[in-house]
Symmetry: C2
């Protein structure tokens, strides 16, 4: 679409605007999670905004390499960029439901193709910078990337918990699957938020939001 519009500006700014217009498509990518106060599914853009606000509010709970060394404390600005950006590849690759039966390698392959196309709409220096941020999130090698993932798992948990288990009930999710698909990913980024969610699971089963763990019969 953008290539048909003469923007009367530098090639660099035209490429940046082209990318920004393309980003609008993230508002069309629906997730399996429902908005708490409205009966509709959430999209990736809303989800990403919510994660960023959660990073601002919950940063004190991030696991740090060294609590006494300020230089190793969480970089909030960097973490914001990671959560804002991490789902952009779903414009091409689509959202994959956490509890779906999918091949992680195939998912990653599709997302790398998407990153190659989308980020290269930008001027080369900026494409490289944005790609490095996305790679950082994927690598999970820094405290910022790990905390970003913790928040990415906590947000749909809260959406479900405050929607009386909407998505969990819809797909008959058992508590052990939450432990495997959500909780396990939270601990590397925040012991405190991992514990917070772990402490709510028993009650979620008692309230009928989640099914109890399946125990194999002998």
């Amino acid at each position: 679409m953008s290539e048909n519009i003469d923007l009367k500006c530098s090639k660099r700014l035209a490429e940046q605007i082209g990318f920004i217009v393309e980003l609008d498509k993230l508002k069309n990518i629906l997730r399996e999670t429902r908005i708490i106060f409205q009966h509709r599914l959430e999209n990736d853009a809303e989800h990403s905004w919510h994660l960023a606000m959660m990073v601002m509010i919950l940063s004190e709970y991030a696991n740090c390499d060294n609590q006494t060394d300020k230089s190793k404390a969480l970089d909030i600005g960097k973490t914001l960029q990671l959560v804002l950006l991490h789902d952009v590849v779903e414009i091409d690759a689509g959202d994959v439901f956490s509890y779906a039966d999918f091949d992680p390698k195939e998912k990653h392959r599709k997302e790398v193709l998407a990153a190659d196309r989308l980020f290269n709409l930008l001027p080369p220096d900026q494409a490289k910078h944005i790609r490095a941020l996305w790679d950082e999130y994927e690598s999970q090698a820094t405290i910022e990337a790990r905390f970003a993932r913790t928040i990415d798992r906590l947000q749909p948990f809260l959406q479900n918990y405050y929607s009386n288990g909407y998505t969990w009930k819809k797909y008959n999710i058992t508590v052990d699957r939450v432990k495997k698909h959500i909780l396990r990913d939270m601990k590397p980024g925040s012991e405190a938020l991992w514990r917070f969610v772990d402490d709510l699971l028993e009650g979620a089963v008692e309230k009928g939001m989640l099914l109890p763990e399946v125990v194999e019969a002998n």
Copy 2:
């Protein structure tokens, strides 16, 4: 809603989670701007995410107090927080259309009431910190606040420009009103992005997206 749920955690974390759940309501606040690739109105959460991405991509165009003094360069992390946060008060106060006939004092009064209620859901130290960020945006006293506003005006301009002037046509907007309500607010934050939009206006009139300036008859 949250007050009925026992979160089994510290009072501090429970207050933070309460605020985060309340934020979900921003996804219900509709703007007058349409999504580019879908025939529906945009909501405030999507809008805020898009602004944050634009800050990441366009920060090089911010007016700085001193281009050679790095300490006076734009703080991207701070600017991200300003754009992510600036519309949260609309959960209570609602969105006001830029071209509507409204009383700015009354709008501000409602938004201050909203800020008082919403931010005070947080623990006191954090309520104060978040309120200071919102006040900074409102004051327009820093390069970050001014650049945040520039981006807040540029985003709906682009949404309209790439939707063949959808909202402008719907409300018979003339080019002089875009100059008054959008363009004027952009210059303090970025001369470069102000010029970019200014250069597109004549073409937008020629393409029939905007009505020409109304010239009073003698």
